[in-house]
Subunit: 211 residues, 2 copies
């Protein structure tokens, strides 16, 4: 067979990485900076994601500027204040949650979808699969971060158009993810929202069916 | 530190899996059936994907019925005939490509987004992140498949609403991915569309910038 044959042990390593990946928030990052070669490894993982028609419709913006980060954080603060209203019966509980790490994390990366000009193979019937390619790249980064013992959090409580303007992205680009990355003092044993009983893990039988 | 510390060797294994993952089409699947425990491993990987607000907004439909597969294949054929028109200058080249493995693959899995009722933590500003959680699950399956030396292909040239009806999914569900899975006679060294010069790999410097 062409291509490497992975061993059962290597598959078990992947299963471990998948199961121990966590969303890491700002109260868990340490000050230790990320080495440039680690950042390269994370981006390399992203760039080897699948993409529809091999279109690679993505841009990764590494955000170093403290002023820009502050502006992103302001967008979070506004969006989060609005979000709290939606959880009327659990507002106190919601307010206690730390939901981002924009200023605390040593590294921020914004990930954009950059639509292709002209038709893309495989994207003609379901145009949204271009965005999905970019999400696959984010998930690759998340798993690679965990394998490198680096924490990553995905911030989605943002005004996407405002973030786009702040980062000087072209009008045609679309924000898919805003990521906070850095070494952490630890990975929780289970998802934080499960541990806090915000949500329960769904029963396997309720989400899998056969036809 | 809480949580397992992965070694550099384990991180290198993940990097290998990521770089050697391929989209496998119908001309590459062998007849060897997938063992039930392998299917369970693939679904377990999916169910440990990140999801916004731990909402787990997904359903996985394992498609065994040959009649249903035939109907899905008909949707592909129609959508693909329409798609060819979009590639007017490369139509002959397009027609030669094998773009699905619906009938050839030993296993098909349709993956749906199942929107939550009521607000979801983290989904209040960018509602599309619910869909993105499901895509993360698909990417977990793709990597786990590769680690188990199983081929997977993502078919996106489909009428999503028709597939939904054929699979008896509720109106509120949304098709995210239709996957073909099975053992394969080999994984190409590079993405097939890169090898065939349909698209080139983009230069790293054009998709990464710093601010």
């Amino acid at each position: 067979m062409n291509g490497k044959l992975f061993t059962a042990e290597e598959a078990a390593t992947l299963q471990d990485i998948i199961q121990q990946r966590r969303d890491v928030r700002g109260n868990r990052f340490t000050d230790r900076p990320l080495e440039p070669e680690r950042v390269e490894q994370l981006l390399t993982a992203a760039l080897h994601a699948p993409s529809v028609g091999f279109s690679q419709p993505w841009e990764f913006v590494v955000v170093n500027s403290p002023i820009i980060r502050q502006q992103i954080r302001e967008s979070f603060d506004e969006a989060n204040a609005a979000a709290q209203q939606a959880f009327s019966d659990r507002q106190a509980e919601y307010t206690r949650l730390k939901l981002e790490g924009i200023l605390e994390a040593p590294l921020n990366i914004a990930v954009f979808y950059t639509p292709s000009q002209g038709p893309v193979l495989g994207q003609t019937s379901m145009p949204e699969v271009g965005l999905y390619s970019v999400v696959c790249a984010v998930q690759n980064m998340w798993l690679m971060a965990r394998a490198l013992n680096i924490g990553m959090g995905w911030v989605s409580i943002l005004d996407a158009d405002r973030v786009k303007r702040v980062l000087g992205a072209p009008e045609s680009h679309r924000l898919v993810a805003y990521l906070c990355l850095g070494y952490t003092d630890g990975f929780y044993e289970r998802p934080e929202l499960e541990m806090l009983e915000w949500e329960r893990r769904r029963d396997r039988n309720t989400v899998i069916r056969q036809v």
